[in-house]
Amino acid sequence: MKTGKAENRQGFFSGRDMGRAAIGKGSMEKTAMALLEIRDLHAAVDGHEILKGVNLTVNAGEVHSIMGPNGSGKSTLSSVLARRDTYEVTGGSVLFNGKNLLAMEPEEAACEGVFLAFQYPVEIPGIGNAYFLRSAVNAVRKYRGQDELDAMDFLPLYKERMKLLEMDEKFMNRSVNEGFSGGEKKRNEILQMAMLEPKLAILDEADSGLDIDALRIVSGGVNALRNPDRAFLVITHYQRLLNTIKPDFVHVLVDGKIARSGGPELALELEETGYGWAEAEQTQALSA
């Protein structure tokens, strides 16, 4: 059985790796299969190994936060999950809803329900926001066997969600992210998430560059989308986001591995202590 196998591997990781322990108290007991099951994931960019054995299990309905120092591999992990091909998976496995995520193209992963809110959303001049998003929604709907939405069906939904994120309707006809401020780009990501209704939403620093109001709006948007069938991976550097989006679990990614896992209190502790301990540990490990 899968769980058995996962437990066998536990000894493999440092005592601080609580990723597995979380299984016991999560909803794993209720559902036979986790929504996301990352095992010993290794990934490299241009020959540099960035992820060095990540293990993480996320069940539907859970919110996991991933913290960790700059350059530790958080965005790499989210890109691998969203299937960006510039990242080469060099080992391990990822099951999403029981399917091999690593065999999927980005669009397949998206249609299966993986959503990545980008740390740095790109600008796409010449493609209108509304047109783009309707194409995306329809691609996903088609994949799921639902009818495609025409502009008449789509626009009211779109406008309603824009309201939720307090975005002006003028953004509709502007090119995707073109000339958007940092905060506007982040809100646009959450808006897309709200329209695409993913099963797993990965938010890569959705809070960076947001002012207080935007932070409230973004976290409000996320909270409104929380439901028992949906899980979140919230990557952040700051406790302030976690005050409103209350995570069930907090993991610390250090040098391509999850160095610690715990409950929400871990985030508070990190706020106090920083990552000095992790770096010390690394140095120790290196000298040993």
Binding site: R84, E107, F118, V140
Partner: protein, 465 residues
């Protein structure tokens, strides 16, 4: 393979016929023009790549193909064949088959007063001289330069027909005039030399589409020359569409003469042709004149698409804008040559030129060459060119939202191309161009995908501004 002498012979046969006809039917001034054209072509032949203006375009394939002229009525075109090329929003449609006006296929009813639309052959027929031919002698051949361009010389010698459009002063036409040039043939390649004269009188407004289409798979050569005269305050838009088959040659020369405050927009969309040379040559010859040269060239397979722009600022306070974008797949090759000449007394000239290119395959190639010749001292001239591939980050962004790769590429290419559409002011012209582009981009994405030896490279474009 044809030798040099044989090559010229194929044209000299055509010249013998044309000359005989001219002697019988045409006014003296026109015959003289033709003689001069032939003499120049005969003396020089086709240019070689040693000539600066032809550095990137090798005409060997054109030179060694024997062409003949179609005889009158040799190829019948049916209404059904024509149907896909009708343009419902057009004010009128003139159809030419292998360079000859086909009145039975054309739609010319209900023309407004003040708009003269005629076959140029008819209008210059000495036996039929009437008021409608007024103005031709004053303009025809006065702008297009035989001395610097041998194709113009050849066209002047050999043209059989074309359109003569005259828009009376103050007349504003909303719907475009569609000049449809069909190439059709069998057995031997056919050459035609369509000649068009457009005279937009003071403060008139008009949009013209010059559209080159092949009805079959046979090789053809269209060597077209259009002279466009925009009098004071006229507003003219011209769209060249080259969508002939991949066996055809097309050399199109648009010579624009602009008077004071005239505004001319020249658009071009190149999707077809094996070897295409698109010459656009505006002369801003009155203060306050403005021109826009906007083009999109899209090549696949082994297409060669050469855009040669020559913008002459002859008077002060004129403004020119060039935006040429290329999308090249497979082993296609594009050329953008943009020369801006600012005369000594053309102070306060404002000239801008940009050429952006997307290469969809490692074998695709673009040569881009700006050339500024500035003899005035108070001018603003800028130019820039970029060469890039589809942006990987943008592609991933779209795919990460569920949009399939081919569709994502379509969207990105369309976004790149649509810039050109945004500059088209006439809604019927824009709509027509948009439809062509949609179809073309799907073809290019499919071509890029099946391009056997090409992993499509993706990276950010670099700016060589």
């Amino acid at each position: 393979m044809a030798t040099e002498t044989e090559r010229l012979n194929t044209y000299s046969e055509a010249w013998a016929v044309t000359r005989a006809h001219a002697v019988a039917q045409e006014p003296v001034w026109l015959r003289q023009l033709r003689e001069e054209g032939w003499a120049r072509f005969d003396a020089k032949g086709f240019p070689s790549t040693r000539e600066e203006d032809w550095r990137f375009t090798n005409l060997a394939a054109l030179a060694k193909t024997p062409f003949r002229r179609a005889s009158r009525g040799e190829f019948a075109v049916t209404a059904a064949q024509l149907e896909p090329y009708r343009l419902s929003g057009a004010l009128c449609q003139l159809v030419f088959v292998n360079g000859r006006f086909a009145p039975e296929l054309s739609a010319l009813s209900g023309l407004p007063n003040g708009l003269l639309v005629r076959s140029l052959a008819e209008a210059t027929d000495a036996s039929r001289q009437d008021r409608a031919s007024e103005g031709i002698e004053q303009h025809l051949g006065r702008y297009a330069q035989m001395d610097r361009d041998v194709f113009t010389a050849l066209n002047t010698a050999l043209w059989e027909d074309g359109a003569y459009l005259r828009i009376r002063s103050g007349l504003a036409l909303e719907r475009p005039i569609h000049l449809l040039h069909l190439a059709t043939g069998a057995h031997a390649a056919i050459a035609s030399h369509p000649r068009t004269l457009i005279v937009a009188e003071a403060s008139s407004q008009v949009a013209i589409i010059e559209d080159y289409v092949s009805l079959g798979a046979e090789t053809a050569f269209a060597n077209a020359v259009t002279e466009l005269v925009a009098a004071e305050g006229a507003v003219v838009s011209h769209l060249l569409v080259e969508r002939e088959n991949l066996a055809s040659f097309n050399v199109s020369t648009l010579r624009i003469e602009q008077a004071r405050n005239a505004r001319v927009d020249s658009h071009s969309i190149l999707t077809g042709g094996s070897l295409v040379r698109n010459n656009v040559h505006p002369v801003l010859n009155g203060e306050g004149a403005e021109c826009l040269l906007d083009g999109l060239f899209t090549g696949a397979a082994s297409q060669h698409l050469d855009n040669f722009m020559l913008v002459e600022h002859a008077r002060p306070h004129c403004n020119s804008r060039q935006f040429y974008n290329g999308i090249l797949a497979g082993g296609a090759r594009g050329v953008f040559h943009g020369r801006i000449v600012v005369a000594k007394d053309a102070q306060k000239t404002d000239a801008k030129q940009t050429n952006r290119n997307l290469l969809l395959s490692p074998r695709a190639r673009i040569d881009t060459k700006p050339q500024l010749e500035i003899y005035a001292d108070d001018v603003k001239c800028t130019h820039g060119a970029t060469i890039g591939q589809i942006d990987n980050a943008q592609l991933f962004y779209l795919r990460a939202r569920g949009i399939a790769e081919a569709e994502a590429r379509n969207l990105l290419l369309y976004a790149f191309a649509a810039e050109s559409l945004d500059r088209m002011a006439n809604p019927v012209v824009r709509e027509f161009a948009a439809t062509l582009l949609h179809a073309r981009i799907m073809e290019l994405v499919a071509a890029a995908k099946t391009d056997a030896d090409a992993e499509i490279p993706t990276q950010n474009g670099e700016d060589a501004e």
